[in-house]
């Protein structure tokens, strides 16, 4: 038996016998987790199961690792590192910093270093474009919220 739905501030309820009481006595049905993402309180920024903020965090982290690879392009014995893109951002990024792991399948030079400048240059540009795209999307979401706050008067 669920607890009765709490009335707002427990104000005395004025009962008019002619008007039926439209306020429900039962709490609303439980929504599933999937629905909660779609209609939850943080919907505008993390809606549709796509957490753009976490994606930006991931791209920033990856850019850091790429910068590290470029900086160590002449360090003997240094092995190229990369961060894997997790399948589910919402769960993975909530708690952990994405781990950097060594990259397989690159040609190792005589000094034990396997940094490929072409690969790093490509990733640098690629991350920049991805970051650009994700931040544009996030920006348009923020614009939508602002528009709602300002009752559509601006933008």
């Amino acid at each position: 038996m669920p607890a009765p739905y709490p009335r707002a501030r427990n104000l005395p309820i004025r009962q008019n016998p002619d008007v039926p009481d439209l306020r429900p006595d039962q709490p609303p049905e439980q929504v599933s987790d999937g629905d909660r993402i779609a209609i939850g309180e943080n919907m505008p920024l993390a809606g549709g199961g796509l957490d753009l903020g976490s994606y930006l965090t991931y791209l920033a982290r990856r850019q850091e690792v790429v910068a590290s690879n470029i900086a160590n392009a002449d360090t003997p014995g240094y092995k190229t590192r990369d961060v894997e893109m997790p399948g589910d951002f919402t769960s993975v990024f909530a708690q952990f910093t994405p781990m950097a792991a060594e990259v397989e399948g690159l040609t190792t030079r005589n000094d034990g270093n396997n940094v490929s400048m072409d690969r790093e240059a490509r990733l640098l540009a690629e991350n920049d474009i991805r970051f650009n795209l994700a931040s544009q999307l996030l920006r348009s979401r923020i614009k939508g919220i602002r528009s709602a706050i300002e009752e559509g008067r601006s933008s």
Binding site: A67, D74, T97
Partner: protein, 145 residues
């Protein structure tokens, strides 16, 4: 860590390459130096690079190590070439030995120039990384506009 961490990493790369460039220019400048305060000809110097945690704080460094990545670069030591110097027959030189030979530094200017070009390219790559990251930070700030 953050985009600022990426800038710190690239900056460490720039610093290391700058030190290497300094040593190369020193080698080129002293390619004909036959006497040094320590005695003997000038000896070629080279920088040894090693990975280094770029975190500015202990906690930041620890977090970076725990996350297993994003290391900066540092010059761990400067090695001095210990191989025998090149001997040229110059009996008139004040640095000549009893047989008339002068010990010259074993420096190949072409080799040094190629190294200098490599240093320049690596420096450029680090600068490119910083400017890309700078753009990304700028775009994050644009979110509030």
């Amino acid at each position: 860590m953050s985009l600022f961490g990426a800038i710190a990493v690239s900056a460490s790369g720039m610093e290391a390459q700058r030190i290497r460039a300094e040593l190369i220019t020193e080698n080129l400048a002293n390619a004909e130096t036959t006497s040094t305060p320590g005695g003997g000809p000038y000896r070629r110097k080279d920088a040894v690079f090693t990975t280094a945690a770029s975190g500015s704080s202990f906690a930041g460094t620890l977090a970076e190590i725990a996350a297993g990545g994003s290391q900066g670069v540092a010059v761990s030591s400067i090695v001095v070439d210990q191989s025998d110097p090149e001997r040229r027959y110059l009996p008139g030189s004040p640095d000549a030995d009893a047989d008339g030979y002068v010990a010259f530094p074993k420096i190949n200017p072409s080799e040094e120039m190629v190294d200098l070009m490599g240093t320049y390219r690596s420096f450029e790559a680090n600068v490119a990384a910083i400017s890309t990251v700078k753009d990304m930070i700028g775009r994050s700030l644009d979110l509030f506009k």
